[in-house]
Structure formats: structure tokens, C-alpha cells
Symmetry: C2
Subunit: 514 residues, 2 copies
């Protein structure tokens, strides 16, 4: 069930498979005493078994198999597998920002600092980063919280972004992608047993990192449902319902928000954010704001508001009390640099003793990857007007963001022409999460296979069209509703074809099971 490379020794893995489930000692075919495994599925960590992560689940494993089969010349009803399952921009052809990569090359191989083909601003940026690295090398460990100068640049970026709301570099922790920061924060929060076990509120649909981390940490997942009928809005009465019910069986401690939404693509209004903050204050919840799509806002009239900014605009009653962690990343927005695993978190109003524990905890893993830290630095401190790389940087950034905006609109439009598919506007982020009608006969056939109906649907689409989507059940959805998540990342011409193929598949599927 995992990605397979050409095995150098097929015999070995075959042998170990045959031994599964044997009692503690048994004679094998070749006459040797065999032992039961020390570590088995029955005695391994039970919380790990509960972890699920649909974005890289069985459907993606099948997609990888299909790619291999295609490359081995096997005949399929499609020429290529299109992975629209994950927000992996460069894999879909998005080009990296030239300036960022120039600086990374200079940092990797500082001999290039004397190469006249590199622009001066790239060189000065690289020097500044390297001067903050021990021995002028990205190969040195950084401080566990991240390189000082990078955290200072992050703080200044946040201050600019939030119209001057102050930001202390001491509150910035660089991370190995946003996922790392989120899991670290959740780790601090879990505690208790039985009805006092820590509970964490997450949206449904959600990004499955949250459910996976909560399962692994043994915390209680408290679901609040986004309102699909109102463009996936977050309604306070639903938050209230969720927390009231949860208080009967656990200790709700934190509220996680993803804005712009993943997988749902909505962008929260300033008012909504204010209401959420009031709710968190009233219910005494630690706020976690996943803001990795902060540059990915496409819809007219929509604007990104950071939780930090709104919190501080609400005055000291809130800004000096509500505990907040917000997360950002190099992986999304216009950069799409997922592979570098760069990110940061800002923590607000955290108790000083807890913060010391956080600093200690991150020190065990030594430091986030330095190339990712360097990249994060460039994201928060890009070329400025007057610098040689400024114009090209703006051109590249604008081109990427405009293309995404166009593809967001296209996706919504085409999907809404299909009977049995209805798609909210993709206001932001990188995904559409349309609702699909699945005929009763298909629901039954899925049940016979032990599959969720939308998994059955997506698996069939993959086999017939080569399109890899993630079923809504992997993110959570209201009972009886079905969805899939599809990225808007493929190049426009490819996206057009993909959307048409989805359309035709849906029509065929509906016909077949009606």
C-alpha cells in the first residue's frame, strides 16, 4: 500500500508477507524457526492507527500505480494521470519566482557571489542570510526558534501587512512548513483524561492535518460545520452548538480556523473574524488561525484580514487577553514552494512559562531546515521598488496570482454547468469543493465494496479519466452529502480539459447508476 520503487530484492518482501499472522514460533517452508514480529498491527501505538490523511490516501496511491503502469506501456483510457489532489503548484507547472531561486543558489554556493550575471539585490539578500548563519553556511544549525534576522524580517512583514499593529520577533517561531507549527501548538494544548480530555474545535470540512494530529495526540476532535448554503460561511450559532455539546464529554481548549478556507475556498469577512474572536474570548478558547493562503484571494469584494489585525483593532480587552497562534508557509500563495518546507508561526498573549516550554520543545528537533528559513525570509522581504529585481518580481507574482484568479472563476463556472454538481465560488485558496449528487444505486454499490460513496466516485473517475481528486469524506461533510476537492492549479488549457473530463465523467456516472 505504499509507493513502490523497483525492488532490488523482491524475494525478501514476499517472504515477510507470508509470515504475517503466524504464531510466535513456527517452522517455515525452508525449515527454519520463525518468530512472530515484535512490532505488529495489534501491539503498535493505537493512536497512530487512528490517523487518516486523505490528501495522500488510497486514491493517491492508486494514482501513483497508474502512472507506473502507464510508464511501463500498459494501455489506459487516458494518456496521463493528472494529480489535482494536492496544492502542489510547481508540480502543476507553476514557475518559481526567479529572485527567490537566485538567492537560494547564491546561499547554496556562495562562490556565485562573484558571478556578474546575478543581480545585486539577490546578492545582498544572500549575504544578509549567510551572515546570520554560523560559518556563513546554510549547513549550520540555526537557533531552534529560527534565524534571528529572519524572525525580525517576519515581524516587520506582519507589521506592514497589519497596518502597523506591532509584532515582536520574539513571538515568531520558524517552522518546517505550517503543518509543523500547527502540530507543535496542538501538542502544547492536549491534556487530561475522560471528560476533561482536551478538545479542539475544527471546521467540517477541514484540512485533514488537523484530524490526523488530534488522533495521534489523543485529543478530542470537536466538529463545527461550515454553512455550504451560505458560501461555506462560519456561523457563530453553530460554533456555540458545537462547544455546548462538547462540554458534556470533553474540555474544549482551542478553536482552529482556516482562512482562506481549505478545502472550501471561502474568505472570511472582517465581521466574521471579530465574532469568532469574541466567541473564543467568551468560551475561553485558544485561537489557531491557519492563514497560509493569505495572498490567495480572488473574488471581488473579498479581502484577507488577519486574525492578529482584527484582534488588535478590537482594543485591549481582546488584544491583551485572547491567546492566538497564526501560521504561514512558503508552500502556497504565489510562491508555491512546498518542497522547501518553510513556514512560521506567530504567538500572541501566550503565557511566558508556556512559551519557554514551547521554545524547549522545538529545540529537541534542533532547527527547521535552513533553506526553508531562507525562502521564508525572501517571501516576507521581497525586492523593493528601486531594486534591480523589483519589476520582474512584481511581474511574476502578478502573473501567477492573476492566472489563479482566472482558474478559480473558470472552475466554478464549468462545474456549475453540470447537472448534479454545484460549486460555491472559489473566493480564495487553491481548491474547489463542489457538492455532487451520487445516485442511490452507486451509493449501494459503494457500500458493497465497503467504500464511502464519494471515494467510489473518485476512484472510478481516476480509473476512467486519470484525474486524481480527493473525496469529500476525507475532509468531512454533512451526512448524506458528497463532495470532492479539486485544485485549481493545472495550467489553464489543461484545467479546461480536466473540467470537461470531470463533466463528461459525471454525466456518464449519473447515467450508469440511474
Amino acid at each position: 500500500t505504499h509507493v513502490r520503487a523497483a525492488p532490488l530484492r523482491p524475494a525478501l518482501s514476499g517472504l515477510s508477507a507470508t509470515r504475517r499472522g503466524l504464531p510466535k514460533e513456527k517452522m517455515t517452508d525452508n525449515g527454519m524457526m520463525s518468530r512472530a514480529k515484535v512490532l505488529t498491527i495489534d501491539n503498535m501505538n493505537p493512536t497512530v492507527k487512528k490517523v487518516e490523511y486523505a490528501v495522500r490516501g488510497p486514491i493517491v496511491q492508486r494514482a501513483v500505480e497508474l502512472e507506473r503502469e502507464l510508464s511501463e506501456g500498459m494501455k489506459k483510457p487516458f494518456a496521463e494521470v493528472i494529480k489535482a489532489n494536492i496544492g502542489d503548484a510547481h508540480a502543476m507547472g507553476q514557475q518559481p519566482i526567479t529572485f527567490f531561486r537566485q538567492v537560494l543558489a547564491l546561499c547554496s554556493y556562495p562562490e556565485l557571489l562573484s558571478d556578474s550575471t546575478f543581480p545585486e539585490d539577490a546578492k545582498s539578500r544572500a549575504c544578509r542570510i549567510l551572515q546570520s548563519c554560523g560559518g556563513f553556511s546554510m549547513g549550520s544549525y540555526s537557533a531552534s526558534q529560527g534565524i534571528d534576522s529572519v524572525r525580525q524580517d517576519v515581524a516587520q512583514y506582519i507589521q506592514r501587512r497589519d497596518g502597523g499593529v506591532p509584532c515582536d520577533p520574539d513571538n515568531i517561531y520558524l517552522t518546517t512548513g505550517a503543518s509543523d507549527g500547527i502540530v507543535t501548538m496542538l501538542k502544547l494544548l492536549v491534556c487530561g483524561e475522560g471528560t476533561s480530555r482536551a478538545g479542539v474545535m475544527i471546521s467540517i470540512p477541514q484540512y485533514p492535518l488537523y484530524s490526523a494530529a488530534l488522533a495521534e495526540l489523543g485529543a478530542v476532535q470537536i466538529n463545527y460545520y461550515l454553512n455550504e448554503e451560505a458560501c461555506w460561511s462560519l456561523d457563530i450559532p453553530e460554533l456555540q452548538r458545537a462547544v455546548n455539546e462538547a462540554r458534556r464529554y470533553c474540555n474544549p481548549r482551542a478553536l482552529c480556523i482556516i482562512n482562506p478556507g481549505n478545502p472550501t475556498g471561502q474568505v472570511q469577512s472582517r465581521q466574521c473574524i471579530e465574532d469568532v474572536i469574541r466567541f473564543a474570548a467568551k468560551e475561553r478558547l485558544f485561537l489557531m488561525a491557519d492563514e497560509v493562503y493569505q495572498d490567495n484571494v480572488y473574488a471581488d469584494g473579498c479581502q484577507f484580514h488577519s486574525f492578529k489585525k482584527v484582534l488588535f483593532e478590537m482594543g485591549p480587552e481582546y488584544s491583551e487577553t485572547v491567546e492566538l497562534a497564526s501560521f504561514h508557509s512558503t508552500s502556497k500563495c504565489y510562491m508555491g514552494e512546498c518542497g522547501f518546507r518553510g513556514g512560521y508561526m506567530e504567538i500572541i498573549n501566550m503565557d511566558d512559562d508556556v512559551k519557554a516550554q514551547l521554545t524547549k520543545l522545538v529545540s529537541v528537533r534542533l532547527c527547521p531546515p535552513v533553506p526553508g528559513q531562507a525562502l521564508m525570509d525572501l517571501v516576507v522581504n521581497p525586492p523593493q521598488p528601486g531594486e534591480p529585481s523589483y519589476n520582474n518580481f512584481i511581474k511574476e507574482r502578478t502573473a501567477t496570482l492573476s492566472a489563479l484568479a482566472e482558474k478559480a472563476k473558470l472552475t466554478e463556472q464549468v462545474l456549475n454547468t453540470v447537472e448534479g454538481i454545484s460549486c460555491n465560488p472559489v473566493q480564495g485558496a487553491m481548491y474547489s469543493f463542489p457538492r455532487i449528487t451520487i445516485p442511490e444505486k452507486a451509493v449501494q454499490e459503494a457500500a458493497e465494496k465497503g467504500q464511502a460513496p464519494d471515494m467510489f466516485y473518485c476512484m472510478k473517475m481516476l480509473e476512467e479519466t486519470g484525474i486524481c481528486l480527493v473525496p469529500g469524506s476525507g475532509f468531512g461533510q454533512k451526512d448524506g452529502t458528497y463532495h470532492f476537492r479539486m485544485t485549481i492549479l493545472p495550467p489553464k488549457d489543461k484545467l479546461q480539459i480536466l473540467l470537461n473530463n470531470v463533466k463528461e465523467f459525471h454525466q456518464r456516472f449519473t447515467l450508469q447508476y440511474s
Copy 2:
């Protein structure tokens, strides 16, 4: 207690400090209602509080403070802080391998592929890596287990290293440094409550990642003591004692070995490894072999033997049954590329269902950093004879390893000239871990300060000489014995001065407290 950058807003952190320990609601100085924190030291995750990590503990925090004070012009009895606390080679002036950095620059900024100043072998290596990345970009996510072609190269490296013992790329998982792999494996193993709680055997002295991870995961740490009198040898009777005692209160499941040793620098004999494997088989323990220092062997007559190789040489009774995970990294050896957080683990004889769970678990974090994967690829597939970069690569590697060997010897020699310091040979790895005599009066003064005696000693050395070492108590040691860990990484002339300063400090300290 954390690394401080210049605060943009000192007032805020001051305010939050004054609010600590207040009851749930209270009027503050400025007349507002204040709330107790949601997340406090008393209600946070208790397992996180138990985590300790001496390598980046209070002494390093003080070292960072001293550096800042020096840079601000404050007078100290020394001109610079020398951090001999951590195996951070580049920070100590070790130069990166040119070929590795050329390939990383090419991968970061592929425009350079048309630059004629880069050697052809660096270009072809970069192309091979980029062709395995989605969209020819290191900015794409890789497979969660790691890039296929890199795992194939790792498998071939292991096969060569182990004299042909087969290695299946399917058993290779690329990781975010070795730490990540070790923690992931430990995560699979923990389970149970009370006397059936999982126990993991670790050496004392140990590398504190192990104790930190076990504390966080809530597993039982089972100590076995290395024999300092016999050059930190691992004696089977001691393993037996430890496991027998542990069976009374927990469920011993795994045995961790660090070879070459950290912090103790010993290199295990082939015989010893064989005995350990027999012991693990007999006691039904999952073996974890931390082999990140596999190229760092200096002493005459010593040689690195991988657990994998010895296991397979012991015949199918062992090679087909004993479960083993071994770990490697880009951070040590001759590369010293810590900042890239590259690494891999190989798993042997793992149950197929558990392996599927492992693959699922690593997928939640998406993938290890791709630049670190690329670097791991170069380490396992360096320039070959006949390639343009081969001679220079060999020259650079040899120079680094010879210098380390020389410094290992120098360190042992100088420290052993000091009365009250006795140092085992540094056979391998990057550290000496000498035993120090601390006068009774100093032990008492430390007790009054609530410090371990060797923490008191190291803190005093730091304040007087600027030398930052880690006290033995951070790694564990026999009661009543005291040590420190010192890296052998500073350049030779600096190391000479450092050793003399340690010597003088020790003499002064001994005199003062006698």
C-alpha cells in the same frame, strides 16, 4: 529563557509577564478586566513539561546572551564565545563539499545548467534529481517516503557499504534529519499503560533526543550503562540486568544503540554488535541503530560495522527475523550539513501492516525537505572515479576526515594531561566526554544553587572563558560521576587554545574549591 531578538515592542512582553499567576478575572493597573490564560504551565500537556534537551539547554541560552553582550561592547574575560556544545561543523569553520553545493545551486536555480563554469557531473546529477521532482522543481512536494530515485541511490549505497547485502528501496524512508526518523519509529512502538507501558532501552550516557522523545511520547526510558572503564563498551550482562529489572514495571520493546557513540565516541566491535543482535532476538526487542557517525572513525584498529551487515552475516535465523531500523543523516561525517535536515532510515523485517501504518504516518507531514533529500542523494552517490569532480571531492573529504582524526587525538591527549580529567580515546563520532573530578566544596555550592555539579562547573567555565560545553548530567552518567561533552570540531589552532583554556580553568576551579 529563549533566544531574544531586538524586541520591536518591549512593552507587550513586559505586560504579559506581570499578568502571570493572576486569578481568572482581575482589574489590572490600567483599569481593565484581565483574564487568566487559557493555556498555562499548570494545564498544558504534562508530557511536554517532562522533556529535557541539554544540548540546547540553559547553558546554550546563556552562551547566546553572552554573545549579544559582547557584540554590544560589554567587557568580558574573553573575546569570543566558542560553542563546543553541539556537532555543528560548518559553524565551526568546516567547509562544505564543493560538489554538493554546486549541485544544490543548480537544483535551486536551473538556469545555471547552461553556465559553463559548472562541471558536467554536477549538472548531470542536478538533472537527475530535478527529473525526479514534479515540474522539474525542488519546490514540489515529493512522495512522503522520499523521492524514488533518491531512495534507489540510498539502497545502492547501503548495498555497497555492506559488501553486497541486498537493500530494497521500499525499505528506505527519507527523513527530516535522523531525529525525525528516530522519533517516528519510537511513535510506532509506544503503547500500553501501567506495567505494560512500552519501554525503550537507551544507553547512559545517551544523546538526549532519545530521553526527550520518550518523555514526550509517555514511554518508559530503560537505562543501560556503558562501561567507562572499558572505553565506554556496551556489555551484554548490563543489557540483561537492565531488561530484567525493567520487566517488573514495563514492557521493554526496543533497544537503541548509537554507534559510533554520542556523546561517548566509542566504536563498537563486530563481536559486540553480534552479541547485541543475539540479545535483541532473545529478548524480543526491536533494534534501533543510530549510525549517523558511520564515516567518523579515527582510532587505529577500529572500523564501522553496520548493524544491517552484521545481522545478515549471522544467517537467516537472524537476518529474516530481527526487526531493525537504522538511521543516517547529512549532518555529520565529512559533510556536516546540519542545516539542510536531510536523513534516511532503513527498516528491516518490519511487519507489512505496520509498514503501511508508517507510510501513512509520514504522509501527514507531506514530505521531508527536498533540498535535504537532494543532499542525501549526493552523499550516497558522490562523484565517481573518472568524473570531473572526483579528485577534488576525494581531496576535500579526506582533508576533513584527517583533520577530525587529528583533533580527536589532540583532544584526548591534552585533556589527559590535566589532573582531575580523564578522557577515553575518541575512537569515532565528534565528541570527547571526559570524566572530571569536582571538589566536594563545589558540589555543595552547586547544591545551594540547585544546580547539578557539572552544570555549575560548565556554567562557571562559560562565564570565565567563553567556552560552551554541555554538562554530563544532560546525557546521563553514573551517580557521583561528572563529565562534560565537548566537540572536536573547532579548527586545530582554536581547539588547541580551547583545550588549554579548559585545562587552566579546571586547575583554577580545583584550586578554588579545594
